[in-house]
Symmetry: C2
Subunit: 414 residues, 2 copies
């Protein structure tokens, strides 16, 4: 059995995938299997009893937002009565940053990999601080979500679909990596490229110049506005590399705030999960490491696709946000070449003489070298209702790579 050849096939599919942003629609209309009492969440499967504070907070917020519960006690009671179903975003072709909670009426970006035909989805980005995806669910959080979904959303939907070609997410990322982004925790340039594409479309789509101005201000002020389409783009790329017989390439890394889960291309839809680490980083004023929730979010799909922590050498300025030094940022990328199977054809790093980013994590190399993937991430408060408290760096637990390798040996009789 030629594992190397299988991995090459997988990573070639990942790199040749070309995700195009084509639309924005309510999750219930486009996400496979979506239904009113189903909440999608980040990471591997988890039941309510084991959910961390920020994921619980986002669940409560989503139930209130959907009008299924009037307040927190009612939402919790509803969950405890078993009236709410939970499933990983990843099991519904979807990815969500941090808690990743996506409910039926929330709008999701529609991203299509036009090379292989698969689609992926992700919700709208709310910005920094006190937001649903970090587990906050106060009235202002829910009002912002309503404005995003009912005022901004229809304008954005019309703007996106008015573009004949859609937005080439891979091309946007290629350019953003030459502008100091790494595509996960630093999406300043990418968000501005997104705004550049959207601005004339929004101006034309909106009949009301005050609404157009408000939408453009909201998008422009949010240096993470493109994160969700980027994540859907990475999901579309990683899904293209999934289910390659005999491949040890990782096709999903995701965290639910309690467990870090991964999937491997040649091992089907089985999750390998173990408790997450807690990120180290820089804290927003008034918070410390003691407030931090363990690692959470589907945004590790960026590292899975060869950007994020893997492209940190492209983004030396990120160290002011996550803690660290520019030298360390370069070393982070260099280290990742040790555990990957290719250098990306489309994502290159100017400061490394335009070397392609390390892409295609090989679970064999992770176990052999003892080097786990590097991840850039936001940090949530461990209690429901608070929100973002910092940003930093983290790695997945080694145990899930070892477990996956044992399973691989078993499945393929090695």
């Amino acid at each position: 059995m030629d594992i190397a050849a299988a991995n090459q096939t997988a990573v070639e599919k990942m790199m040749s995938a070309r995700p195009i942003l084509k639309g924005l629609a309510p999750a219930r209309d486009v996400v496979p299997g979506m239904r009113p009492n189903l909440l999608l969440h980040a990471g591997p499967p988890i039941e309510w009893a084991r959910m961390s504070g920020p994921l619980r907070g986002a669940v409560i917020g989503a139930l209130i937002y959907e009008g299924l519960a009037p307040d927190e006690p009612a939402a919790v009671a509803m969950v405890e009565r078993g009236e709410v179903d939970f499933a990983p975003c990843h099991e519904h072709a979807t990815v969500g940053p941090m808690a990743g909670v996506t409910s039926a009426s929330m709008l999701v970006y529609i991203v299509e990999n036009i090379t292989h035909g698969n689609r992926a989805y992700s919700n709208l980005n709310e910005g920094y601080g006190k937001v649903l995806r970090y587990g906050a669910f106060s009235a202002d959080v829910l009002n912002r979500l309503r404005w995003m979904n009912t005022v901004m959303g229809p304008v954005l939907a019309e703007a996106i679909t008015s573009s004949p070609d859609g937005l080439d997410v891979r091309a946007l990322l290629s350019e953003a990596l030459h502008m100091g982004d790494e595509g996960h925790n630093r999406n300043k340039a990418g968000s501005l490229l997104f705004l550049k594409w959207l601005a004339p479309l929004v101006a034309r789509a909106s009949g009301d110049s005050a609404v157009a101005a408000e939408v453009l201000k909201f998008l422009g002020d949010n240096a993470l506005s493109v994160l969700n389409p980027v994540m859907a783009g990475c999901k579309a790329m990683a899904d293209a590399a999934h289910n390659v017989e005999g491949s040890t390439v990782v096709s999903v890394m995701a965290r639910n705030g309690t467990d870090f889960g991964l999937r491997v291309s040649g091992l089907g839809d089985r999750w390998f999960a173990a408790p997450c680490e807690t990120p180290q980083g820089l804290w927003f004023p008034g918070f410390t490491a003691a407030d931090a929730n363990p690692d959470i979010g589907d945004s590790t799909i960026t590292e899975t696709a060869g950007i994020g922590g893997f492209a940190m050498a492209a983004a030396p300025a990120i160290v002011t946000f996550v803690g660290s030094t520019p030298k360390h940022a370069v070393n982070a990328t260099l280290e990742m070449y040790e555990i990957t199977v290719a250098e990306h054809k489309h994502f290159t790093i100017p400061a490394l003489d335009f070397r392609g980013t390390p892409v295609g994590i090989d679970i064999r190399k992770v176990v052999e070298t003892g080097i786990t993937p590097r991840v850039n991430t936001g940090i949530a408060h461990k209690q429901a209702g608070v929100g973002q408290i910092g940003a930093g760096l983290v790695r997945p637990p080694m145990a899930i790579f070892e477990e996956a390798l044992v399973a691989f040996a078993g499945q393929y009789g090695l």
Copy 2:
């Protein structure tokens, strides 16, 4: 006499200057000394007989644009009859990229250094290729100028003045240098930050959503849209450092396509000029080094203020545009520390551990070390009417630094 102290005073003024974009108005209404038969141009003073092709082309285009001449022969005849006055932009608090030709009815950005109160001006940017500033003057070039000045201009003017605080050009540059720009030849990030600021203001200012969309598309598609406000910002900063008694710091570097001129803080308004070099670089398809005009433009005000070629280490991706390597880009910045008197307080380079850019060129150090400043630049075709043919790197002639140093010794009796 304490030259070092004088230089410290000059460079401190340059760094503490805070240029704010406050408006956009016809040159005749705001540029000091502007009048209908006066054309401002880049670089040191020059008469028609010695003007290079691209500067002549821009002069012809401006006379047709102003309605002063119906066509090229009439424009040339008018100049030859002595009916047109010429003066350097720099002598009217103005800067213009490439030919820099600015006429009375053209709109100029108004930038005010709110620390010291001086103002500087620069015209609208036309984008790449066949444009007036590179000496092209065909009907499409002039039609674009008309649209910019009569359709886009009024919307931009209202958008800019509707902002209570204006745009902080220094803050924009600080951020752009962390996003892979060097601020002269690469202004991708800066132009997007400019668009981010303008987009909601334009949407609100324009009564017509189709016009708003057209303006936002034009600005977004031009990765140099912010160059002119940036140049006016650098002019406002450099002017703040001018006329410091006993200072050998360069306060102006500018080229007219024939001569490279400089001014020194402690030597008043005297120009030191000598023939320009021709840039080396990369050529647009169909052109070669044989087509290139010698160095042209006021955009060297960026290097004068500590960005551009001096900040090339911040912009490794620029090498794909100007020719060179990322390593060379770092070395270019490192070399400039040899001839400058300070490290910038506000402009820092992440890849150099956030070291301040080299700022305040000391003519003594240039002559002592034999190192002339590094300049990134666009390259114009040597014939009138063609336009941009490439981009590259160049240096000023050593002779002007030597001549200035001799004059300094003479003036101060050293």
